[in-house]
Amino acid sequence: MRTDDMVREALADLAPTAPADNTALAGVHRAIGRRRRRQHVAQAVAAVALAATAVGTGALLLRAEDNKVQTGNGGDGRPTTTEPTTETTGVPKPDEGDRTQFGPVSFVLPQGWEATPSQKLTDPETGAQGDFICIAPTDDTGPVWEDCSGLLIYRGDYIPGSETRPYEPHTAAAWSHSFDVPSCPFEPPAFGPDFDGVDTSGALIEQSFRPVGDKSAYYDRWQANCQRSDHPFEPQAWFLPQSKVLVLDIFGHPETAEFLASFEFEE
C-alpha cells in the first residue's frame, strides 16, 4: 500500500466523531457566554474610563479591580537609577503636562493621544500576571495590532513574548505574542484563500540598548511582512527587566522617541 493511502485510511479511522446534538450545542452556547462575559468586562472597564474622563477633573484616579490606570497633573513619579547604564538621548523631554501613571512608570502622552484602560494578562503556564495598556491617537483609523493603533505598554510579572512565552529581549519574534498567524494589519480582514497572514519569523535586524527616560532599555527591531500583500514593517521593543516594563511600537510612530524620553520611574 502506498504511504499516502495508508495515511488516508488510518486518519479516517483515527478521527474521532461526535454528533452535532443538543449537548454539543449547549457547549457552544456556554462558550459564547464565556466569550461575551470577557468582552463585557473589557467594555465595562472602558466605560468607567470614559465616564471619568468626561467629568473633566484635574486629577483622575481610575480603578477597576485588578486593572489600574491613573492620570493626574504633575504626578509623583521620581527618577531612579536602578536600571543599567544611562545613555544620552538627544531627545528633549516633553513639557510636563498631564502625566499618566501605569504601575511603576509615568509618562506624558503625545498630544492628541489617549490611553486605554489596562487589561490583565496571565501566563498560561505559570499563572504569573501582568497587564497592558494601549496609547494611541484619539479616533485613529490607522493600522491596528492587538487592537491598538499606537504603542502597547506592558508591565508586571508576566510580559508576553513570542507565542505567549515570557518576553526575552534579543530573541526572534518576541514582538508577536499570538500563536495564531496574525492577520496583516494594513489590509482589511480576509479569510480563506485571501487570508493575508503576517510572517513573524523575520530577522532581528537591530539589538542594542536605548534610553527610556533616564534608564537604559534592551532595544530590538525586527523585520516582518504581510505574506500576500508584501507589506514590510519593522516592529520595535524597549524592555526594562528591573522595572518589568515593555514598550512595543509595531508601526514606527514619529512620536515614540519623545514619548519614551518622558518616562519617569518610581522606586
Partner: protein, 159 residues
C-alpha cells in the same frame, strides 16, 4: 449560513480535525465548541458562504495549536489512548496499522502534522491548506513532502 446551521453541518468534521491534531477527543470537542463561539461572534466578517467553512477551519487549527502550546510538548507526544479491543485477524492488523500511523503522526513537527491532516483527511488542496494555516503554498508543499517522507520511513515495517 447561520451559526447553528453551520454547526449541524460541520460539527462532527471539526471535532475530527481537532481530534487528529490534539489526540484527545474531549479536548477536541471543547476546542471546536469554542471555535464555533468565536466564529459566531465574528461571523459578520465573513459574508461569502464558501469562506465560512474555511474560516471556521482556521479557527479550529489556531485554537488546537494554542491548546497544544499550553499542554506543552510532552503531552503532545504521548501516544494515543488505547481503544477497545478488536477481534483478531484483519481487524487486529488494521488496528496495528492505525496505531502505528498515529504514533508516527504524533512524532511529526506541528506544521507537518497539520498539513498532513488537512491534506489526507480533509482532502484540501495545497492552496486551501495555505489559506487555512496562513502560510505560503510553497511552505505547505515543503511541509507535506517532509511529513510524508518522515512517515514513509517510520511506516516501513507495515508494508
Amino acid at each position: 449560513m447561520a451559526t447553528e446551521d453551520l454547526f449541524r453541518e460541520r460539527y462532527s468534521e471539526m471535532v475530527g480535525l481537532a481530534g487528529l491534531l490534539l489526540n484527545d477527543r474531549g479536548a477536541a470537542e471543547e476546542v471546536v465548541q469554542d471555535a464555533f463561539a468565536k466564529y459566531h461572534m465574528a461571523r459578520h466578517r465573513v459574508r461569502e458562504p464558501e469562506r465560512q467553512v474555511a474560516y471556521l477551519r482556521s479557527i479550529v487549527c489556531n485554537l488546537a495549536r494554542g491548546r497544544l502550546r499550553r499542554w506543552g510538548l510532552e503531552r503532545r507526544r504521548q501516544p494515543l489512548p488505547e481503544r477497545e479491543a478488536l477481534p483478531a485477524g484483519d481487524a487486529a492488523e488494521a488496528r496495528h496499522r492505525r496505531d502505528t500511523v498515529a504514533a508516527a503522526l504524533a512524532g511529526l513537527p506541528r506544521r507537518q502534522r497539520e498539513c498532513v491532516v488537512l491534506r489526507y483527511w480533509l482532502d484540501l488542496s495545497e492552496r486551501d491548506i495555505a489559506a487555512t494555516l496562513g502560510i505560503a503554498a510553497g511552505s505547505v508543499k515543503s511541509h507535506l513532502h517532509r511529513g510524508l517522507a518522515a512517515l514513509e520511513s517510520r511506516l516501513e515495517d507495515l508494508r
